[in-house]
Amino acid sequence: MIYDCAVVGSGLAGLCAALRLVEGGMRVSVVAKGTGSLHLGGATIDVMGYGPDPITSPRAALALLENDRPDHPYSRAGAEVVAEALTWFTGLSEDMVGDLRENMLLPTPVGAGKPTAVAPRSIASGDLRRGGSMVICGFRALKDLYPTYLAENLAKGAFGTEIDARAVTLDATPEGRVDANGLGFARAFESADFRTELVRQLGSRLNGVERVGFPAVLGLDRADEVRAELSAALEHEVFEIPTLPPSVPGIRLFRTLKRALGRLGCRITMGATVVGATTEAARVNDLHLDIVNRVARMSARHFVLATGGVATGGIGMDSYNRLSEPVVGLPVSFIPRSADHLFDPTYLASHPVGTAGVAVDPEMRAIDRSGEPLYDNLRVVGATVGGAEPWREKSGNGIAVATGFAAAKAILQSEGAWN
């Protein structure tokens, strides 16, 4: 079967592109090496948090960015398309709240307040701008969240309003284990017995109108139900705070997107590593997939490369400090001129190599130095696209949604299927 489009990568960018394409009626196949970065990174859609000063309105920041940094992926997609993408994404699920007008400030595992445009309701309920009293609950057996440290930082932080935060550490743990990760807890929370025990341990220790913050482990497939029941049993508003990976909310979002794709007939093939491509003039003809050491070819009329940035292997650097895009061999741009200054000696500073990635045109096609598209039918999305500093800006998932959507839109438009 020749697909209309093959998407490489099952992170947020690849899944968004695939979903928007199947919504437009295209036959799409997603191939991925692993489960994708949502399992690691989490489910909050940070669009633009710092520039480098804290950003209150992402919409205003995007408008400025178009002038100041025309090479930024948002500027390439265009502020209007970014807004359209976020509206589309938020509309996918009733669970997503927030928009581009104003950033929320959401507690991180250390108790900073991260500026975030869109987030799952359970995390958004921890918005620090609301002020007031919070109790942060941790578990002795969960080493990926420290409630005392977190609460003290929240109480010290400058979020516009006073936060009164305290911590409670609970002994409840799945099957009596001393060392359980977020997924272990998430599965345990789906059991009524575990929740009953938790309410027994915690209930009497709550007072007044505190919001109750838990590590983001409140259930996996039945998370809504788990949180609703806990809120009711505790008679307090319950919210979630992301933990170190594995990211339970990220896995929930992955499953939501995967189900939506499945309903429209699109499957994700895991364990398939794209090791190369056949190209002819300005077109990509097929991809070479390594599936358990058997090489297969996959043809399609369009291709979307969503293999991620350096962290997920979408961009590589060898021991001679040569950067490359390993699947198609696309040129890597935004590289510092001197290999002696790839990194700043200060860790938290901006690193010259930090923006490295593939340069794209407004249709998300990879371009050469003169700005001409290299392949008419190949789009590049997500962290593979250069020109941004996602972790410093807090823009990673925002770029994934915006570029994934922009690529899908361009493909559908080229097929006359955009409506």
């Binding site: 804290p54 350096v310 997920t312 972790w391």
Partner: protein, 515 residues
């Protein structure tokens, strides 16, 4: 504070001197400007020399090495992995050197056994197949941190005491004698006056700076900087030496879960010069590629620079109780500078730290006209009494025995919560880098990517810290780590570093925490 013997410098030598003096019944105190083993001792490749490296170039040093190799295997087995060492000659290397090497080994009393090419490749399959000849010698890997900590424990059993983070500001000279020092507790800012009957300068590459405080000018200790790179895997399980005249990048040491390639030699003006030049990194990778083809495809974890103290002082009347070698030197400042009760030891190498300590304490006893024999070669260090070497699986074995009873905080190095809390308490520090060196926390492939957040939370909770102090500890660990990783970021380690950035900045937003 008052002590009979004041030792300046908390490297292997200084700690060795503290232990030696304490065992001879002197009340002894050691001051170190930063943490113990922070200078040259904590910045070498971990090779316990057989002496093979020096048999042609410096036979005296070779004899010293094999003598101490035997002693340390006896007294410090728990700090040693008995990897054995191979000297390999590759196609193109000086064809006459192996014969001179074997002859030198015989003359220096170093056991040496030639093994066939196929035997060498069977033992170390990743070795360059173009090897021409291979010789087995009793090299080993030695954990310098563990050695120093065991030395301090032994010294304290004999009443000796080490004060890390005490920087000597001045030496007190009275009537032609050094009678003590003024040190600053760098953590509290407090000044401490220490009166001492004798001052022993064991500051290694920093010895000239210390001597100058007593007015002994111009001690010619030349810092020779060398870089080393730790690779993520034990590409070899035997110490590999190139069988050539000692050169750069010709040693590969398997230690703990990694292997370390070293080293370069660049004379620098300042012993605190820790620069990692890019061309030296490339030089080490090329050298590694020659020993183990494919070396560049392996994953580098960390790079660091250490400075050797090379002693070349024309004015000093070098005294030693045994044959004078160029390996290490004791400077008697009575003769050199008219300063009594003050000796400097410098030069030397990690393998000979115990002997250096013995020599300087002997020299001190001579000057004091006391006869107190050295016992450090006989009494084992704590945990080495049984004479068992550690091996690469020791930690896994220990962890496996208590599986399910404690949380693993650092998965890479299998550090669990109880020892972490114990170390935080014992070391009374907010510096997570001190804990890294104590427990190897954060030394694995992710370089603290997961465990340092956890360690910060535990530090905050167990030591009842202010959150701002804990935030500072977290951020300074990240900065310290960065120094050792950014010059070698490529391949999978670049990928790891970007992922860590994603966690610390993208997920935690550590850069916006209140300090």
């Amino acid at each position: 504070m008052e002590t009979e013997v004041l030792v300046i410098g908390g490297g292997a030598t200084g700690v060795g001197v503290l232990r030696d003096a304490a065992m001879r019944g002197f009340s002894s105190l050691l001051v170190e400007r930063s943490d113990l083993a922070m200078g040259t001792t904590g910045r070498f490749h971990g090779l316990l020399h057989s002496g093979g490296r020096y048999v042609v170039k410096d036979p005296n040093a070779a004899k010293e090495c094999i003598g101490e190799n035997i002693v340390l295997r006896r007294i410090a087995a728990d700090c040693i992995e008995d990897t054995g060492g191979l000297f390999v000659s590759l196609a193109g290397d000086d064809p006459d050197y192996p014969d001179r090497f074997v002859e030198g080994c015989h003359e220096s009393g170093i056991p040496v056994e030639e093994i066939s090419r196929s035997e060498a490749l069977r033992r170390e399959p990743r070795l360059n197949p173009k090897l021409e000849s291979a010789f087995l010698v009793p090299d080993a890997a030695m954990d310098s941190w563990k050695t120093v900590w065991a030395g301090v424990r032994s010294a304290s059993d004999h009443g000796g005491r080490a004060l890390p983070y005490h920087k000597v500001e001045s030496l007190v000279v009275d009537n032609g004698r050094v009678v003590g020092a003024v040190a600053q507790d760098v953590r509290s800012g407090e000044e401490v006056r220490i009166d001492a009957a004798f001052v022993l300068n064991a500051a290694g590459a920093w010895a000239a700076q210390v001597a100058e405080m007593a007015g002994a000018e111009g001690l010619a200790v030349r810092p020779g900087r060398g870089i080393m790179i730790a690779m993520n895997h034990r590409l070899v399980n035997t110490v590999i030496n190139r069988c050539i005249m000692p050169s750069d990048g010709d040693i590969l040491v398997p230690i703990r879960t990694v292997c370390v390639i070293g080293t370069t030699d660049e004379e620098v003006a300042d012993p605190d010069d820790n620069e990692i030049p890019r061309d030296e990194v490339q030089q080490m990778l090329d050298a590694g590629e020659e020993l183990v083809p494919g070396f560049r495809e392996a994953r580098p974890l960390r790079v660091w620079a250490g400075v050797r103290p090379l002693f070349q002082d024309a004015r000093a009347d070098i005294t030693s109780t045994r044959d004078v070698t160029r390996a290490h030197a004791i400077v008697d400042h009575r003769e050199r500078d008219g300063l009594g009760r003050f000796l400097t030891i410098t030069g030397g190498k990690f393998t000979s730290f115990r002997l250096m300590a013995e020599d300087i304490v002997d020299a001190m006893c001579d000057q004091m006209e006391e006869i107190r024999p050295c016992r450090t070669a006989e009494e084992p260090l704590p945990d080495s009494e049984g004479g068992d070497y550690y091996w690469v699986g020791s930690r896994l074995q220990a962890r496996d025995a208590s599986l399910g009873e404690d949380q693993i905080i650092c998965e890479c190095e299998m550090v669990t919560r109880a020892p972490l809390e114990e170390a935080l308490e014992r070391r009374n520090t907010t510096n997570l880098d001190d804990i890294r060196r104590t427990l190897r926390l954060g030394m694995g492939p992710c370089q603290g990517g997961f465990c340092i957040y956890r360690a910060t939370g535990i530090l905050h909770e167990s030591q009842k810290l202010d959150a701002s102090t804990a935030n500072g500890s977290l951020r300074s660990f990240l900065q310290e780590r960065w120094k050792g990783v950014h010059p070698i970021l490529y391949g999978d380690q670049f990928r790891q570093a970007r992922f860590d950035e994603w966690v610390f900045q993208g997920l935690l937003d550590v850069e916006h925490l209140p300090l």
